[in-house]
């Protein structure tokens, strides 16, 4: 009985979830819990996720942002139900499968879209604590478990944040550095910072 209670106690501490039972426990992920290293790594992750190349497609509203100053996307294309835009302003109507050459032309990716309306995956306005907790919640992160979260660092659209064409500032870390911080954060327990 005491062993069971201890185990339950240790498991409850694995994630700073505020008692949220929805977090997936890691299975295949090599986890070595270290809350200090985890929170330190997330600070680097947060810097990247809140930079324009990531933030611009994770708005709180239904119009994406654009540019290094994250102004509302000109012509106000809307998210739509599936995140792929609406009517004559669907994302792929302008955003081609690859970057269009030249300044002020649409960057490209075969899968250009926003998160869908029923899971907006908002970054805008989130504190580090809020974003960390959101990222590990399968009900808010696109139903990803820890392994899938790790793999997400190499997702096509994520990678395209580092290759968005002329006139767009890259994220503050290289992709390699971001991926290292991302995996460190997750494998040391995916702790959420205090604030």
């Amino acid at each position: 009985m005491a062993i069971i209670l201890c185990t339950a106690g240790i498991m409850a501490f694995a994630f700073d979830t505020g008692g949220d039972p929805k977090i997936n426990m890691p299975t295949a992920v090599g986890m070595k819990k270290d809350s200090v290293a985890s929170v330190k790594a997330f600070a680097a992750v947060y810097k990247v996720l809140m930079s324009p190349r990531c933030l611009n497609c994770h708005p709180a509203g239904d119009v994406p942002f654009q540019g290094d100053d994250s102004h509302l996307h000109t012509m106000f294309p809307k998210r739509g139900i599936d995140g792929k835009g609406v009517l004559a302003m669907k994302c792929a109507n302008c955003h081609q499968p690859e970057n269009t050459p030249g300044l002020h032309t649409p960057p490209g990716n075969p899968n250009w879209h926003l998160p869908p309306a029923n899971m907006k995956m908002v970054f805008e306005g989130k504190s580090p604590r809020q974003l960390a907790k959101q990222m590990v919640d399968p009900n808010q992160n696109g139903h990803k478990n820890m392994q899938q979260l790790i793999e997400h660092a190499d997702d096509g659209l994520v990678l395209s944040g580092w290759n968005m064409g002329e006139g767009r500032t890259k994220p503050p870390l290289s992709h390699a550095a971001f991926k290292k911080a991302w995996i460190t954060w997750i494998t040391t327990g995916a702790y959420a910072p205090k604030k």
């Binding site: 106000f76 294309p77 009517l87 004559a88 302003m89 669907k90 302008c94 002020h104 032309t105 649409p106």
Partner: protein
């Protein structure tokens, strides 16, 4: 050689696969109804349909259109009798006329997907087509008129 269909006619085009569709349509095929406005997908004058979707031909590569169906303004109807064309005429919408190929092609997608569009639907669909002459009020009026005509005729084209 790149094969594509434009307004239901097959074409074999000998051009760089990276050439914007706008130039293929205008210079090679010879359909000049689609216009160059900005070249950076920001004005909508170049809008055509690629498999029914309103794409901007100034940034769409020829390679994306290979084996696909393109519709230009010339192919919107057989006899200028698309409800939008009728309404555009009825409401006397164009001033200089330059933007209106693109306006009509965008509006055609709107009417197909929303046969009874609200003003918000019109904003959402048409905000990407700009008009230097400011005919926006008449564009809105004509879209509502075309929706009426379409529903009387019995359905979207």
């Amino acid at each position: 050689m790149i094969s594509l269909k434009v307004n239901k006619k097959p074409y074999e085009v000998d051009a760089d696969p990276n050439m914007p569709l706008l130039w293929v349509i205008r210079d090679i095929i010879g359909l000049t109804g689609t216009k160059f406005g900005c070249g950076v997908a920001q004005c909508g004058a170049c809008v055509i349909h690629l498999n029914g979707e309103a794409v901007r031909s100034c940034v769409t590569k020829l390679s994306r259109a290979e084996h696909q169906e393109i519709t230009t303004i010339e192919g919107l109807s057989n006899d200028n009798d698309h409800p939008l064309q009728v309404a555009w005429n009825e409401a006397n919408v164009p001033q200089c006329g330059y933007c209106h190929s693109g306006q009509l092609m965008s509006a055609a997608v709107l009417l197909r997907e929303k046969p009874k569009p609200t003003d918000q639907d019109i904003d959402d669909a048409m905000a990407g087509n700009i008009c230097r002459c400011g005919t926006y009020l008449r564009i809105r009026e004509a879209i509502h008129m075309a929706a009426e005509l379409q529903s009387k005729k019995g359905g979207a084209k």
